[in-house]
């Protein structure tokens, strides 16, 4: 099945439409038990996009599967703040152009000096007017006990690190209402209404977002997706302003009366 997609992909992609992928490491050298920053760079041609961990209404998330030496571990993938792209009423979440997805690989504390191969099996879906699947086996080397060298990619990894949301939304509160949830926080809306990216598919209706602001608090209203089953206990995702993004991971307070979104 995968092979069939691969064949189709080669036929469908012109040379100018090819997406490239690369494994970046901050190394090559590291100490036993010390994490090494790594990243998977996916670079589709101009105007093409790939997808966030929740792709939105359509698309597929990029996947990374690590194949590491025995005893080595990789941390969970960290995703830079996505953008939303809309086509004919269908809203996708992801990255236009190049993105670097970040992680760390950690050798075991008793790792011996030497060179170690790192491998990442990566799949993605690149879309513009149409979509093309891609996959790649990416490799890099890490060494333990050598001279303390940094890779030129270390700077690139640091830059992308600043684009991964890490600060919790100040004073965040989520409350259920008849149509979905309200999310409020302490502070202004900053340059127009922000966009909420839910961690999980089928949570929020991606097309709707209204904001109000009063008394130092800002509230936005999130409409429950038609596809959501059951009632989530927490609201999880990223709230992105024009130039900053915050993490949201708060319990959902249940409504005391039948409130509706304005």
């Amino acid at each position: 099945m995968i092979a069939a997609i691969g064949v189709m992909c080669t036929m469908a992609l012109g040379a100018d439409e090819a997406t490239t992928a690369r494994l970046l490491t901050a190394g090559p050298t590291l100490a036993p038990g010390t994490p090494l920053a790594v990243g998977v760079e996916i670079a589709p041609p101009n105007g093409w996009h790939t997808y966030w961990k929740n792709p939105g209404d359509s698309g597929l998330p990029t996947t990374v599967e690590w194949v590491l030496p025995k005893g080595w571990k990789a941390t969970a993938l960290e995703w830079p703040t996505p953008i939303a792209f809309e086509a004919d009423g269908i809203v996708g979440f992801g990255y236009e152009g190049k993105v670097v997805l970040l992680a760390s690989v950690v050798p075991p504390p008793n790792a011996k000096p030497g060179e170690y191969p790192l491998r990442a099996e990566v799949t993605w879906l690149a879309c513009k007017d149409g979509c093309y699947p891609g996959k790649a086996t990416l490799t890099a080397k890490a060494s333990i006990g050598g001279a303390n060298l940094q890779s030129p990619d270390a700077k690139i990894l640091q830059t992308w690190r600043t684009r991964v949301p890490a600060t919790p939304l100040p004073g965040a509160r989520a409350r259920a209402n008849a149509e979905g949830w309200s999310l409020s926080w302490t502070g202004p809306a900053k340059d127009g209404p922000p966009r909420f990216f839910p961690d999980q598919p089928a949570t929020v209706d991606h097309a709707a977002l209204v904001g109000t602001s009063s008394g130092g608090q800002t509230t936005i209203f999130l409409k429950r997706s038609d596809y959501l089953q059951g009632s989530p206990k927490r609201l999880r995702g990223v709230l992105a302003f024009r130039d900053r993004a915050f993490l949201v991971d708060v319990p959902i307070e249940q409504a005391t009366k039948q409130e509706v979104n304005p």
Binding site: M1, A4, I5, M8, C9, A12, P55, D57, S58, G59, L60, P61, T63, A87, D88, G89, I90, G92, T123, L125, C127, D129, G130, C131, Y132, P133, P201, A202, S225, D226, Y227, Q229
Partner: protein, 191 residues
């Protein structure tokens, strides 16, 4: 009076009554006109299709959709595959192309319907290819969502959600998952 009691019964029941499936009339790739109302008394499946979408291609390459088409049409279900890409966009097909491509893949829908105008997809709020709907013999929408719970195509355990909805409904049970988030390529509606 009866109507009032019926309305009360509906409002008191916990699970909402299924909505009526939007009606439509579309030209088939075989040149015939297909009206949803003509199939009252039968289960109807709608499959949004774009043969160039890699997720659709993955399901057809695995024989997955063809298997479901054969299984259900063998049980008397009407399976309508809807080519919903607008003219000039990825996946747009003429009647002849639609028939040829489906035949090459060994697909077995009851008919392929052509909807480059996208109006039927918009009525159903169809979002992706594939996006599946199951309609009851009374014309109610029983299922709206993904073909299965395997967006990545790499899960070992897969639940065919459309098939499950049909199995439940046709044995007189309520559909346990009436909606799920569809996955695939966005439908190429007219801009």
């Amino acid at each position: 009076m009866n109507a009032i009691i019926a309305a009360l019964a509906v409002s008191l029941s916990n699970s909402p009554a299924p909505e009526a499936a939007p009606t439509f009339s579309l030209k088939g790739a075989d040149g015939k006109e297909y009206r949803l109302e003509d199939y009252r008394g039968k289960y109807v499946v709608l499959e949004w299709w774009n043969h160039l979408c890699p997720i659709v291609a993955r399901h057809y390459a695995a024989g997955n959709i063809q298997r479901q088409q054969k299984d259900l049409t063998g049980k008397g279900v009407i399976w309508l595959t809807i080519a919903g890409s607008a003219e000039g966009k990825q996946g747009f097909v003429t009647a002849d192309e639609a028939k040829k491509i489906m035949a090459e893949k060994g697909g077995a829908p009851t008919a392929i319907l052509l909807n480059p105008a996208g109006d039927v997809g918009m009525k159903y709020k169809a979002k992706t290819t594939p996006h599946m709907f199951l309609i009851s013999p009374k014309g109610e929408l029983l299922y709206d969502g993904a073909i299965d719970d395997n967006p990545s195509g790499r899960n070992k355990e897969v639940t065919d959600l459309l098939m499950k909805a049909y199995a439940e409904a046709s044995s007189g049970q309520p559909v346990s998952t009436p909606k799920s988030q569809p996955y695939g390529c966005g439908i190429k509606y007219p801009s």
